[in-house]
């Protein structure tokens, strides 16, 4: 492949879209539980975690529009982009098939971002470092929550154990993409702005394996790993999510309340 020179601001914009979109889409997914969670405390917990994710998304996307200054706002990015323009991981857009799926999706993501944002908080881009350092504090709470549910459901009844195992089996194929890296990352890593996610893969594997084994759950074998989210190639679920998330803003552009 011919080597092209990548503009740093454009690379950073793309990078921030990924970080922002991961949190925006996951935050929206979690908000779907509001009023439907299995217990009041759980309803509050999932809504709190959703709020943190959406807050982090807001910070990353605001920094994105400030970086490239293309006349768009963070809200434009959230509400007026189509499916193929979203750069989030396939994992975070997966539907809430049942509570187990929500917990497994969250656990896989939390373990990654806890370690990843710890590294990003050393970024030479001070704003990116600040947002990441702030997020780490919040994710510590999220991870404790998702990890405890994995243990409780895995070690619970036959029904809860079967269902959480199903979620692990179905979501495992999206875990390789978490460590995606391409020339955009390389360019920013060179500048000390970004961090190579593969360097923390062993930490992710260690905590995930240890937790699943403690919960007497099995990691599925010979799974075909799926990816494409970073290039805007998504699973069917994202379109449905966006339809719901964007309907009000698109029906009444510029509306305020």
């Amino acid at each position: 492949m011919q080597k092209t020179i990548i503009n740093i601001d454009e690379a950073l914009y793309e990078y921030l879209l990924r970080l922002g979109d991961d949190n925006l889409i996951l935050g929206h997914r979690l908000s779907e539980w509001c009023g439907h969670a299995p217990a009041l405390e759980e309803d509050i917990a999932l809504a709190n975690i959703a709020l943190d994710c959406i807050g982090q998304a807001n910070a990353f996307l605001t920094l994105a529009v400030q970086t490239i200054n293309n006349g768009r706002t963070e809200d434009d990015l959230a509400f007026f982009r189509n499916e193929t323009e979203f750069k989030n991981l396939l994992l975070v857009e997966q539907p809430d098939t049942d509570f187990g799926y929500t917990i497994v999706r969250q656990f896989f993501y939390d373990v990654f971002v806890l370690h990843f944002y710890q590294e990003l908080s050393k970024s030479r881009n001070e704003q990116l470092a600040g947002i990441s350092a702030k997020a780490v504090k919040e994710i510590t709470y999220h991870l404790r929550h998702s990890r405890q549910w994995i243990l409780r459901l895995g070690g619970g009844t036959e029904e809860s154990s079967t269902r959480i195992q199903n979620a692990v089996n179905d979501l495992w194929c999206f875990t390789d993409e978490i460590f995606f890296k391409n020339e955009i990352d390389d360019r920013l890593i060179e500048e000390g702005i970004a961090f190579d996610p593969r360097l923390i893969k062993h930490k992710w594997e260690e905590l995930v394996e240890q937790t699943l084994s403690e919960a007497e759950l099995k990691i599925p074998e010979n799974v075909f790993m799926k990816s494409g989210g970073r290039y805007g190639r998504h699973t069917e679920s994202l379109g449905h999510l966006l339809a719901e998330m964007q309907i009000v803003a698109r029906s009444y552009p510029g509306a305020k309340w």
Binding site: I44, N58, A59, E126, A133
Partner: protein, 186 residues
């Protein structure tokens, strides 16, 4: 009322220089901070934004007065209201131009709550943040019981790590049998 002229030598007070077309005004930074103490957190109305550590700096960029604030939590829904309140209260005090800037570094920590703020929380039945209480980021996630704000007992347990706002968790006291909220230590 804030545009007071202060003699050049003014002890340890920090003076902000504020140039206008005709002359250089000098404003005592403490006075601006005093004014900002009239802005309360809409979700915990007993605390003002200065004692919570939300206000990080006040400075002039040319004629523009800039107030730098940082959110307690990334998604804190009170930030918008706080920003509007700051603009209202400082415009009332007759500055030509006021801007609020949201910053993320360094990240907010509950250590920035002043002693008085912690005292006020306790008076209102909310356990203030204590070092190493509530959360431990180590692998085993051990938790030290929070001191009950009503009877000062440590015979308490956590009901939920997430509460009515992002900054609080829910607890229960076995001695006085009261449920209570705790301002999380982050």
């Amino acid at each position: 009322m804030l545009r007071v002229h202060i003699p050049a030598q003014n002890g340890n007070k920090e003076i902000l220089r504020y140039p206008t077309t005709k002359k250089l005004y000098m404003v005592d930074k403490e006075k601006i901070l005093e004014t900002l103490k009239e802005v309360y957190d809409p979700e915990i109305p007993v605390l003002n934004i200065v004692e919570m550590g939300i206000v990080r700096d006040v400075l002039f960029e040319g004629k523009k007065l800039v107030v730098k604030i940082t959110p307690t939590y990334s998604g804190c829904p009170a930030m918008k209201t706080i920003e509007e309140e700051i603009l209202n209260i400082l415009h009332d005090d007759d500055f030509d131009e006021v801007a609020v800037e949201k910053i993320y570094a360094p990240p907010w920590t509950s250590d920035w709550l002043t002693g008085e703020a912690k005292h006020k929380l306790k008076q209102h039945g909310i356990a203030p943040p204590e070092k190493n209480s509530g959360i431990d980021s180590s692998r085993d996630y051990a938790v030290k019981p929070v001191l009950c704000p009503f009877c000062n007992s440590r015979n308490t347990s956590i009901t939920s790590f997430f509460g009515s706002t992002a900054c609080k968790s829910l607890h229960y006291c076995f001695d006085c049998t009261q449920p209570f909220e705790h301002f999380k230590c982050i």
